[in-house]
Symmetry: C2
């Protein structure tokens, strides 16, 4: 046999089905275009603003966490060193600091033992879905469109995701009732509904408070969990209470991310899962067992970096991100103004007006497919994300997502101008 | 509904089956005993020696990696900062440095594009099994006893693990042939065989070179992959070539760990998967897609710490661990000598004599169950690991694993003395 010869075993057809799912393949296309057209203005990447990053901060954050261990926990130098260098507890070493952050920024009371620190929110989503997906009857509900990471985590656990209608006010609780009924008729067991109430990826949409309360009511009445993903919640004005802070029935599992408010490079997120499990302590304890089989524990060095940022900012990431939040707000304002100047009044062209987060949804009266994206990259030097990527290919055919988080005012001006040219050229 | 009330959905019976698997539950018992008897001498934990850890090293390693990015890659300060702070590529940012380490320490030629940097070897094992487990016919073979982390990763993917006989020379290639035949008769598709040729966890056993060559031959002839886990390979004398370095047929996926040779707290491992996949590039590319859905990417800060250690040690972890390797060798020698002094000549009592790694297997003429472990902790102040934990409850009933990596000479003397008392008291 030749070295690295094609093994009969190794073809995409005999590997796990997630690897050939269209939702995942289409996101790879986007990454390829970003590589192929490096000079295109990217209104596609959902990355945090990086102007205020500084490598020295990593050293400062590490030192701050070590000082905390000595001062507040009474650890000696050997114990401090061991905390950073050795295997840590599976649930993580900074659960108490995360709980303080949630109290300060989100008015959420989380017992530290209900927190599982994860390798980003992505691992937290996987753990929750892995716990809940016991057999082939189990399904998940999620708004359409939805975050592609949720789709990926569900694919890894072979858990079907059934769509719930989403409006300009976010997920529609009444359609959730309908979809619960349909799932039951189909012999399915709905384990949870995923939801991003604040400045959702990909739409930028937020839910108002009555919709949040109604969603909680529906979830409690039907005994399903709500998986609340709040990656963007802090990054806007008019902040509304999280589902978790409003929850009186214990239905909400809160998925936290430090990628947008801490730093992506730490890859630290978490789940708050304070639900009691018959025969098994808290749901957090069950997630921790799964994590032990998946990644053992989240790097305590990475956790220390995030902890240091919390410690040096009075546990408030709103405070820590004051400058970044101002940038995102400015960028949203500039983007919406540029859209208005370029495309205002054009029949069939519209966009929503989020008050926070990274994303704006633009609607046009023609197909926004991957071909249009390739043409935009090649001929117009601008990148965006066709919205159909977030519908698993079952919707969003005339919409696109604009990401504003990484850009400067000049790039926004030029990017929207190029987008305007592209759209205008395709109008009837 | 009361807050956190028991939901009908949330009982261990309606969660994923891995959560109630005996293999996992029994490992939790061990952790509880360690907590309950903090003064017991632990010959149970498989952790690296920590005397030479120093928090300042983390800062030095980070600086060394940043210097490397500036000097060898020509990155400016903004690009260096971006590398550490932002999302990184899914395959990781230090694949080239890992490839250099493999060339220096293991005589393995790995193309950087075949390397996927993972959250410890644990995530690498999960990714490989997730890729290979396409439907219910797919099974994995592994030696009995086997590393509990492999069992965990297989449970998460619902992939059955079928045992292969293991001897004092490691996994038995002739029994592998037999098990392949049996699996085929049972309508199963064997995707891979897991193997730890060097100083295996839990036995401490290594395979000789003829057995390695025969194993490669069997795998190539039957078109199965070998998953080579080499977490302990550097930590001994009489080092033998890895399967990957001997592989001429492209059957070996190499699973690397920096937990024992870099630092556990970084949680960095990797897979080398240079097999070509029909319709999908390298197997590494497929693993990378799965990783994107699981953890997005491994923290570049954690990767930078490991990279710095490689850069400051001429890419050799043998060199970097010279003092640790001397400690492990001394501890093995002292442990074997103390066993000989305490238990030599006792009928039915024996142990193997590994030349590296962290573990020694002791055999006794009575049952080594969890009750005996509890009694050892309570009445004798010594902890070990009953070997049955590593057989999934299907063997190893009269064996125990001793771990020597964390101990001082005094603790070894006292630990083995306590163990001698326990064993002597149970001899017929």
């Amino acid at each position: 046999m030749d070295p690295n010869a094609l093994s009969a075993q190794l073809s995409t057809e005999t590997l796990h089905g997630s690897l050939t799912d269209p939702a995942i393949s289409s996101m790879n296309l986007l990454n390829e275009l970003i590589d192929d057209y490096p000079k295109a203005i990217s209104m596609a990447a959902g990355r945090p603003y990086e102007e205020f990053f500084d490598v020295r901060l990593i050293h400062e954050y590490l030192d701050a966490y070590c000082d905390h261990l000595r001062r507040d926990r009474g650890l000696d130098d050997a114990a401090v060193t061991r905390t950073l260098f050795q295997y840590g507890t599976t649930k993580g070493v900074i659960a108490d600091l995360i709980a303080r952050n949630l109290a300060v920024d989100e008015d959420i009371e989380a017992a530290p033992e209900s927190v599982v620190v994860t390798v980003g929110a992505q691992e937290a989503m996987f753990l929750v879905l892995r716990a809940l997906r016991a057999d082939e009857r189990d399904v998940l509900l999620a708004p359409a469109p939805t975050y592609v990471g949720l789709t990926g985590a569900a694919l890894l656990t072979d858990m079907p995701v059934r769509p719930v209608r989403s409006t300009a006010n976010g997920i529609d609780p009444e359609d959730l009732v309908l979809q619960l009924k349909r799932a039951e008729e189909d012999g399915k067991r709905v384990r949870a509904c995923y939801v991003t109430p604040n400045f959702a990826n990909p739409t930028g949409t937020s839910m108002d408070v009555p919709a949040r309360l109604r969603l909680l009511e529906v979830a409690a009445a039907h005994d399903i969990l709500l998986l609340e993903d709040n990656a963007y919640g802090l990054l806007g004005t008019d902040r509304l209470p999280s589902l978790k802070s409003l929850d009186r029935s214990g239905t909400v599992v809160y998925i936290g991310s430090f990628a947008k408010t801490g730093m992506p490079g730490a890859r630290v997120g978490y789940a708050v899962a304070d639900q009691r499990v018959a025969g098994g302590g808290l749901l957090a304890d069950q997630l921790s067992k799964l994590k032990g089989m998946l990644t053992v524990n989240t790097s305590p060095i990475a956790q220390a970096v995030i902890a240091g940022k919390l410690l040096l900012n009075d546990f408030s990431l709103v405070q820590a991100n004051a400058r970044e939040i101002a940038v995102y707000q400015r960028n949203l304002r500039l983007t919406l103004a540029a859209l208005e100047r370029g495309l205002g009044g054009r029949p069939g062209v519209g966009w929503n007006t989020p008050t926070g987060g990274f994303f704006v949804t633009v609607t046009v009266p023609f197909a926004v497919d991957d071909e249009l994206l390739a043409l935009a990259a090649r001929d117009h030097g601008v990148l965006f994300t066709p919205m159909h990527h977030f519908y698993g290919g079952k919707g969003g055919f005339t919409q696109l997502r604009l990401s504003i988080s990484l850009l400067t005012p000049d790039l926004i001006e030029e990017g929207v101008s190029r987008l305007t040219d592209l759209i205008t050229a395709h109008l009837p």
